[in-house]
């Protein structure tokens, strides 16, 4: 018998889109970086992207240049699956910079969520898909 306890693909896509759009909106709006990170990530967060590991402090530090350079950000979530506390998604981030350029990055992400919905761990591979 096949047992599936996951969200529908649509719900998982909405979860991923809502999570990152809300997080980025708070960051760009200038909210306290540590407080924002703590609302969306557990204190033991480990984010590994393209082999670079960020813990909570490095994630907070990363928000300073993001805030300085990004005017707005949108997320196209192409596909996502969530089963229990496991999450996988493929999405593209379109970040508009203060110089007017749009940096587009496709992300392949596997993650683990805490019971309260915050992200505890992600492993990501990315590629630049910006228009030439």
């Amino acid at each position: 018998m096949l047992i599936f306890d996951g969200m529908s693909d649509l719900s998982a896509r909405e979860f991923v889109a809502d999570f990152y759009e809300s997080f980025t909106r708070e960051v760009v709006a200038g909210a306290d970086a540590a407080a924002v990170v703590d609302r969306y990530y557990t204190p033991d967060i480990e984010q590994v992207a393209d082999g670079v590991t960020l813990d909570r402090q490095r994630l907070i530090d990363h928000l300073r240049p993001v805030r300085k350079n990004v005017v707005s950000c949108t997320y196209d979530v192409h596909e996502a699956i969530r089963t229990g506390n496991r999450l996988a998604a493929r999405f593209t981030i379109h970040a508009e910079t203060r110089r007017g350029r749009t940096i587009s990055t496709e992300v392949y992400m596997f993650g683990e969520l805490a019971p309260d919905g915050r992200i505890r761990h992600t492993t990501q591979a990315t590629r630049d898909v910006s228009a030439p």
Binding site: L54, H62, N69, T97, D128, S130
Partner: protein, 66 residues
């Protein structure tokens, strides 16, 4: 060609932010960034003042390794 290391870049967006600032420096023809090492290679059509490079990198929110 000018090679230097930038501290604090952690993702492809960081690479984009730094590249964008360096590409705007007069005389810079191309910018190549190795995220894993932080090494940046500039191809230029003239010698570039290191202070200009530092200013551009700092404008993006990062630091040139001393």
């Amino acid at each position: 060609m000018t090679v230097f290391r930038v501290l604090g870049m952690t993702c492809s967006h960081c690479v984009g932010f730094v590249s964008e600032e360096l590409e705007a420096v007069a005389g810079v023809e191309s910018v190549k960034v190795d995220l894993s090492t932080g090494l940046i290679t500039l191809r230029t059509d003239r010698p570039i003042d290191p202070a200009e490079i530092r200013t551009a990198v700092e404008a993006a929110g990062y630091e040139v390794e001393p």
